[in-house]
């Protein structure tokens, strides 16, 4: 039988027990590998989680809608950020046809903003016209003026043509996956805030 490589120091005999070390080596090796594998498989989804992209374009969409409404559609592009009263009021009148002289078409907010119908959008005008805190605005048909919702002149469900200045679905309070864009605009010589929420 040819002699193998020189005996390892310590003079251990070539007996079966040498396999025991091999088993030990094997055990160490595989366990180490498996532990690293498990660690990696636990760790990698963690890296990916913040980059699970969903609805990234909502940010750009809400900015686009807000800029389009505040600088052109509800007013005149030659005077950005100033809204024309009647086209603005008619914009929030969902269900009836859009006046032909205004710069939008269709009868729902989605059609008027040319977004797909399944998209959730909400457009609202808020302001502090009287009193201290900001409130949703309302069109008071009798005085033909824009007033705060809580100002007493605003009774949208009283049959006359008063109307709350909000359109589209109501944004969910709970989940945080909504993107909102704000623009300060002028209407009827007052400055108010237009808020566009997309989710």
């Amino acid at each position: 039988m040819a002699t193998g490589p020189p005996r390892p120091p310590g003079g251990r005999a070539h007996t079966d027990d040498s396999r025991a070390q091999t088993t030990l080596d094997f055990a160490i090796g595989v366990s180490l590998f498996l532990s690293v594998m498990l660690f990696v498989f636990a760790f990698v989804p963690g890296i990916l989680q913040p980059f699970e992209l969903s609805g990234e374009q909502d940010t750009v969409l809400s900015e686009r809608i807000a800029s389009d409404l505040s600088q052109g559609t509800l007013g005149d592009p030659s005077e950005p950020y100033v809204l024309e009263t009647h086209c603005t009021v008619a914009f929030f009148d969902e269900g009836s046809a859009s006046p032909s002289r205004c710069d939008y078409e269709g009868s729902t907010i989605q059609e008027r903003l040319t977004v797909e119908d399944h998209r959730n959008v909400n457009v609202s005008l808020r302001g502090t016209l009287s009193g201290a805190d900001e409130d949703l605005l309302c069109w008071d048909a009798t005085s033909q003026r824009i007033v705060e919702r809580g100002s007493g002149d605003c009774n949208p469900d009283a049959g006359d043509d008063d109307r709350l200045m909000t359109g589209g679905e109501t944004p969910p309070q709970s989940n945080d996956a909504t993107v909102s864009s704000r623009r300060v605009v002028g209407i009827q010589q007052a400055n108010i805030t237009m808020r566009v929420v997309v989710w």
Binding site: D16, L48, L53, S54, E56, Q57, V60, L61, E63, R64, S67, D68, Q71, G72, T73, D76, P77, S78, D103, Y104, E105, T114, V115, E116
Partner: protein, 152 residues
């Protein structure tokens, strides 16, 4: 020596097949996972680029509406020329009165459509590859006949 009672050839084949099975399974699972997330990122990136391009088109439309006479109106923006490794192109189409902007990626064929207002003057079809895209007005007689996109 303990005899395992299996022939060398059999155990050899058995192990090898398990091994290849294991590796190919791993490889296959991994690559589909990467492919899926790549396609998802491509779709999102095309949508973001599409929204930016749509807001550029609307801005040029406002440029054309504001003054009494417009002589030139153009706006360019530099987008990535490749989206997660694949090239893409953008098409601005009249689409019969309901103008749309379509972005198509080539490698995994991903298509994204973005609707534009019907008052935006777009006729026919104009086309631009990924990269620096210029949105401008084709003007005659002081008014903007149609808005086009092209590579700057």
């Amino acid at each position: 020596m303990t005899e395992r009672g299996t022939s060398t050839a059999l155990s050899y084949v058995l192990t090898l097949s398990i091994a290849t099975l294991l590796v190919s399974g791993l490889l296959f699972a991994g690559s589909t996972f990467v492919e899926d997330s790549r396609e998802q990122v491509i779709r999102q990136e095309l949508q973001v680029i599409g929204e930016h391009l749509a807001s550029n088109v609307e801005q040029v439309d406002r440029y054309a509406d504001a003054p009494e006479t417009v002589h030139e109106a153009s706006l360019e923006q530099t987008f990535p020329s490749r989206v997660t490794g694949t090239t893409y192109d953008a098409i601005l189409r009249e689409n019969g009165g309901d103008p749309t902007l379509t972005l198509r990626a080539t490698d995994p064929a991903v298509t994204v459509e973005i609707g534009l207002g019907s008052d935006v003057p777009i006729t026919g079809e104009t086309f631009a590859d990924g990269g620096t895209i210029a949105t401008s007005c084709e003007i005659s007689g002081g008014t903007c006949d149609r808005i086009v996109i092209e590579n700057a």
